[in-house]
Symmetry: C2
Subunit: 243 residues, 2 copies
């Protein structure tokens, strides 16, 4: 994924699209492999997009497709693909119809939202009409979270979904430092399962959330059982030590 916008790098806007896409992809069995955030720099956007689209099966971008001068994503995508950018007839029709229905002037600024690289297909926008678009393996979506989410629902129909990743969360009442050794052994014995360890603390007590993830239900259950057993034995050891 490529998130675009100066406002993300200045801290003015806190991104909410990366986490959403990550969740949607995980449920669909698609691995999100990398995210980059860049500002409103045409060359950096184009170069980054070229790297990502050549490295991964698909790329989703967010941001920079509105009506104002700082919305430069369509041009940057065109530059990346060496394609001319012009008004997409169907996008123009939808926008013109929408503004006519609402009795609003179809300004030159609003016409900008119809611009796509030549040959792009549209990604429907049920929230605010102005569409996203697809060029080859790149999906170009809006940055406003409600619009991004609605567009992403449409993108998902075009992506080959995989076997969803199953996950099992195991609460461990002991801190990471007391289970790190045995947990590493369990990870070694269950190579088909990715085991994540997330330290937390509350009221001065340290505990750990363990999450096992796999596409294989049987492997996941075996790892879960091993982790639960380890957590139980750690508790018994602590009790025996009087901890």
């Amino acid at each position: 994924m490529l998130a675009i916008g100066d406002e993300l790098l200045s801290g003015r806007t806190k991104d909410r699209n990366i986490g959403h896409l990550a969740e949607v992809f995980t449920v669909a069995g698609i691995d999100l492999k990398e995210v980059r955030i860049v500002g409103d720099e045409p060359t950096q956007i184009a170069d980054t997009l070229n790297t990502l689209r050549r490295t991964y099966d698909f790329v989703v971008t967010s941001g920079g497709i509105g009506p104002t001068h700082d919305d430069i994503t369509a041009d940057a995508v065109g530059a990346a693909f060496a394609l001319p950018v012009s008004e997409h007839p169907e996008a123009l029709r939808r926008l013109a119809e929408n503004y006519a229905n609402r009795g609003l002037e179809f300004t030159e600024a609003r016409r900008r939202m119809a611009r796509t690289p030549e040959g792009a297909s549209l990604v429907d926008n049920p929230v605010s009409v102005a569409p996203g678009f697809r060029v080859d393996n790149v999906f170009v979506l809006a940055g406003v979270p409600s619009v991004f989410q609605a567009m992403l629902d449409n993108v998902m129909k075009e992506l080959p979904t995989g076997v969803p990743i199953l996950s099992a969360a195991i609460h461990c009442p002991w801190p990471e430092g007391e289970i790190g050794g045995p947990l590493r052994d369990i990870q070694k014995q269950h190579p088909g399962v990715a085991i994540g360890s997330y330290p937390r603390s509350e009221d001065g007590r340290h505990f750990t959330e363990l999450v096992a993830r796999s596409r294989d239900a049987g492997a996941l259950e075996a790892a879960r059982a091993a982790i639960e057993d380890m957590v139980r034995r750690t508790g018994e050891d602590r009790a025996a030590r009087g901890a």
Copy 2:
């Protein structure tokens, strides 16, 4: 910045460090130019870090320096710099003292948190002792937000701060599509100021938050005046049209 962790790419954890660093850097007058998020893949972490540290003045990483098997950042940073990774004597001393004081066992897993690439200097951790570290222009911090923030405060003392970016926010009660044209002209006339346009809507009404940013107070004021004038004139035009 480089944020590290499978949990960020699966959506299980929503990153809170990127936005924080962006805000802290902006206040300090440091430009955040790019962020990447990668998973717990040693080669990808090392390759990405090598690209970023050669491209930018400084790199800050988050995540992957705890006591468990999935905490691989120290090794990946060592690989990136082709430096051996071993227990840092001062880090080991701090950790041993801390666990002794708390009457806790200094397990092998906990000793892992003392590992740094050779020659690293430590980044103090006032929250939970286990330090981050610096190698050359790379600062390696924890992923837990409270710890990341405390470590970042210490990193800021080592960074050359620039002239802070000043910003002016102008509320525009009209939608982006009605001001996009004149706003672009203003941007052209004020090249030393970056003007961002952020569409919002509430109760079905569309409006726009405009933000002008510059390191030059005079240039910023001139742009602000031009934008406010444009917003006012747009309102008068609307009133004249009976909109």
